[in-house]
Symmetry: D2
Subunit: 365 residues, 4 copies
């Protein structure tokens, strides 16, 4: 198998012209598409409908080419969109394809697999059930990707459900919180513990409901979790390296210890034999296929001893603040603004920091 990764600019959340041209020209086969991850124009919070708009638009387009119904496409292909392109960031979506390919060099190459948990009730969010079903789905996705060892997993993207007031009032099970935004955080947190459990990043008996949003020493270094009202289960995408796959693409990952940790970015580049001095030059920047970053405002209200205002701002949500800041920092090193930068990094990277994964073309172009 061979995995390709293609980024398209997004002028508005209904603009699927980029993929449309690629499908029309035959450079992408609709049936090869296994996942799409993107950043849309909304606020990234509960009332962000740009994620659903793009999901609908892309599933219609793909269905038109595969002959499936749009609903069938959405059941097969995870569409993981995070709202919010604050500051210098640029809205885009990244299409992952997998296709049969002649055997490669035997060297590890980019590999991808997807899986889905059962649908969740609002009362399931933040619970052990969500942790465990997520861990199971990750193992399924690893198997489907042909990745045997957790150490070969470099990125796990999860999109879980968010609920509006109507959903919350109709919940069948008791809720951990009846606050819509808080439920999003609980869902991201439980999902992150599910990643950590599946990959052995934390003891299985530590990845428990009681630790959700409580024990920030527990975190995954490869899992990125989002939530949105447009899905009802946890959609899971696992990306890593496998000798069963071929092709020029590679992925590496690392953590940012805090919002200013640019050494963390350079470390990931280093693992990919790239050098930013102080910024990737144009030639190297062109080798970048996708960048995924999770980040959050530090909960003690400080960065390296100085106060920030992100936690108490009533006009701009803390996630919008931190995405704009960390997104700009990473963009300035990578010389690329079409990055997936997502807030809400509960149990994803160290407290106040985050994680990052980069996919690059190893061949010089």
């Amino acid at each position: 198998m061979r995995c390709d990764v293609i980024r398209f600019a997004l002028s508005n959340p209904g603009d699927v012209s980029g993929l449309e041209e690629a499908l029309a020209s035959g450079s992408i086969e609709a049936g090869d598409i296994v996942a799409v991850i993107g950043k849309t124009h909304g606020n990234g919070l509960v009332n962000d409908y740009t994620r659903g708009y793009l999901t609908l638009s892309l599933s219609l387009l793909i269905a038109r080419h595969t002959g499936e119904t749009p609903e069938a496409v959405r059941k097969r292909v995870p569409f993981v969109f995070s709202g919010g392109v604050e500051g210098v960031l640029s809205a885009h979506y990244t299409v992952f394809t997998a296709q049969s390919a002649e055997a490669g060099s035997g060297e590890p190459a980019l590999a991808i697999g997807v899986a889905f948990t059962p649908d969740y009730d609002p009362g399931d969010i933040g619970r052990q059930h969500q942790i465990d079903t997520t861990a199971t789905a990750i193992r399924e996705a690893m198997a489907s990707a042909g990745i045997d060892s957790p150490s070969d997993v470099h990125f796990v993207q999860i999109k879980g459900p968010a609920f509006d007031t109507d959903d919350i009032l109709a919940a069948r099970h008791p809720l951990v919180s009846d606050n819509a935004g808080r439920l999003m955080a609980l869902g991201r947190a439980a999902s992150a513990l599910g990643v950590g459990k599946a990959l052995g990043e934390m003891p299985a008996d530590a990845a428990v409901e009681a630790a959700v949003l409580k024990d920030s020493s527990l975190f995954t270094s490869v899992g990125s979790c989002s939530a949105g009202t447009e899905v009802r289960c946890n959609e899971v995408i696992v990306v890593g390296m496998s000798r069963k796959w071929s092709g020029p693409l590679a992925i590496a990952h690392g953590v940012m210890q805090d919002a200013l940790d640019i050494s963390g970015i350079h470390d990931v580049l280093d693992a990919l034999d790239m050098v930013a001095d102080p910024q990737l030059d144009e030639r190297q920047a062109k080798r970048l296929r996708a960048g995924f970053i999770k980040c959050e405002a530090s909960r003690n209200g400080q960065i390296r001893g100085r106060s920030h205002v992100m936690l108490t701002d009533g006009d701009i949500d803390q996630q919008r603040h931190i995405r704009g800041a960390v997104g700009a920092i990473v963009a300035s090193v990578l010389n690329d603004t079409a990055l997936f930068v997502s807030g809400g990094a509960e149990h994803q990277g160290p407290d106040g920091g985050g994680i990052m994964a980069l996919i690059v073309d190893r061949e010089t172009n």
Copy 2:
């Protein structure tokens, strides 16, 4: 003479405890204070009252120590506050003092001078009158700073008036615009042309009313212009290097060609014999006394060929977006978040870019 530069953290816009302790301990003499520049917690737009709150609080404190009235202090000392500490930025204020000192080494040292234009009517904003009176005030401030050559000026900070709806309706002269936000932009722009004219950065006959917000090829590389409802004239602070002053502090400046131009930051550090690899280490970061940055969202809606959303966002003003982004980038290189980062860089640096000036202690500590 000798100029000192001391930064204080600001927990809220009425918190002057930092300077209060310094005055109580005698480490600063109230009478030596010549200017204060700071970043406050507000949105940095027309309805940002945090600037006025800090101005009142500081003038009360200083007046209590000098025996002046607060009004007299405000007439003598420019208080230039810019609202908006988006993302990682930290609210703070920087106090500039000047005191008699024994003759130094004869080497150039940090020098400062201030001046004030006459009060403006809303109808004066964006006009030739504002350009010319600003230029005159800059020359006065240079003289007061003992700086003879424009090439020794590294930073000019101007704070001019903003007007609310009542002011605008009461204007005595015809207005260039009756939109409050637009008037702020016009005022910053005309002030920037005043800087360029005074320092010979542009031909005097180019710094004309007709070019205001029209000809973006005209810009100053040292002038930073803000506007707020708490002042009625242009307050001017000139900072540079002069052999008439002594002390360990130095200032350098440069431009950022666009929002991602981290080479521009490294160039300024280079001029000050500092190295960020990729970030100033803690020891070097401690030598930083203050950093001043102006930036703006590029008006073509793109950064290096990719779209941004800053110009068409109805929820977050473009200035808040760009401050958060560029502020984070500069902070990540300087290892310091208490930076003066201000949006609205009309004619201040190249289109879509901005300017920066850093004050450092040349002596190793």
Copy 3:
């Protein structure tokens, strides 16, 4: 002919379940649908994509039932959505149907007609061309509605284009403004003058480009104009009373002199033989089929001699403020929150006021 008007709740901008059930049950024939007007969840400003999302969702649904393509549906049926359900307002959409019917009583009944102008370039916005083509489209829509006299027109809804930065930079003609929000205002204003011209509310030689956003004494009392990036021409819906139509529905309209003018609301109710004392009781409220309101923040910054902050708020746009306020006032009298309340009332009603039109069922239920 007979016109029916059915409102559906909208839980999110992709939720078309209400109409879906009505089509499935046969209570509405998809081919009878002539227009849809609604309020969606977005901010109602340039970057509001909820309008496009609902347009796509509804056109897909209708196309599925009529056998047309969604594109053909969008060419035939105006979908006029305004973002912003601030405060007590409730997201919804109102479907207008027209079907053959046996001759009625000969009394005037609700009548509807639609028309479309040619597509506009950004450079056409705010120009005489937009005024004149809009006036022409209104006369076409009147003809199609079988309404002969302008005095029988009680509501004209227009949805025109908004442009993002890319569009603006690609304009073929010189622009009246290169600011996206300003272009929306210019388009609404020119369209309103087109209404006034077509209906004889103002002298034809007064409805000129030079008056756009300049002469606020010129206004229509029946025209409501919105703008959004999801359309490229002016879509025009004319609603009035005609003896060529039958059925129990009726429409009346009036103006609000300012934001607090509840007498204006009572006057419209009075014309429809309804009484709010002080609020429509539940029985009367059920007779209400739809309410359309345009409003705006008074440009002198005052309401009845007291200041408001709407014009200078950098956190909440003035349109969001005024929709929330006037929407609540009207809702409190009508006992109904599913109202179409739209800001940006340039030349629509008196300065600082607005217009309203109500459709009711004249038969007691």
Copy 4:
């Protein structure tokens, strides 16, 4: 004694010119001022500094006239400011004075008393201690007002502390919540239970910590509770009717059952012999001295069966939504926009509704 109530317009939070003129002209004696309640320009959330700015400005002004220090004034006079003048509302402050007066007619007249609780630690907020100390302070304020019966109390205004991240991290006692906004809600809620307990509106054994933000059937009909970072204790103002006082002013109060309950407004007017038909005419409106309203977005996400978006909006806080909506509704009936409309009505009025109190001059002018 005789209580007077004077409202002043507020052009910005540092504008005390209205009271300054009244003090200069002698129409108000600085020493007679017992309380000030007002609405300022901020967002009314944690990072709203306009409340502190006005508190500082007014205490400086009063101190200059009484010879006290500003700190002493702030210890004696409660300054209760609520941020947020959304929509049609107008920023203002209302000064309450009490002065010796010849015995009146023996009829009840407006009476006022104030008191202060001890300072609170963040860990005290939402606790039994806050409920009980608030109840004690209310009884003290009643005694000071010469009001014997709880039924003669028509308005209790409480301003308690809000805490920023630094404060929260420095808390000495365990916190009910470490979320700054949640702490504000807990503080308002516990204070409201304190009012209900002191006035016998609920059984004393029901006004317990366990009910805070849990049992919404418990509510006060006269208590209005706000929170802000500018105070550290609960400041309590009790306003009612007493035969020990004289003068033409009177107060009445009532509840709004939900956001659209305009009958509730008419009931309060009725108790004061005023008639809105449908709006107070100019003559009656002039008799209005002050209006106080608490309101909140209904927690089930609905108003009279239709959904609202206030609880899940990531761009505009629910308090800003509801203040703008209910403020406009009340203003449209009272023909007055300088109203104290405050969100966060936990245990203040029925769930989804609120309370209102009006002070009027009973003598025709």
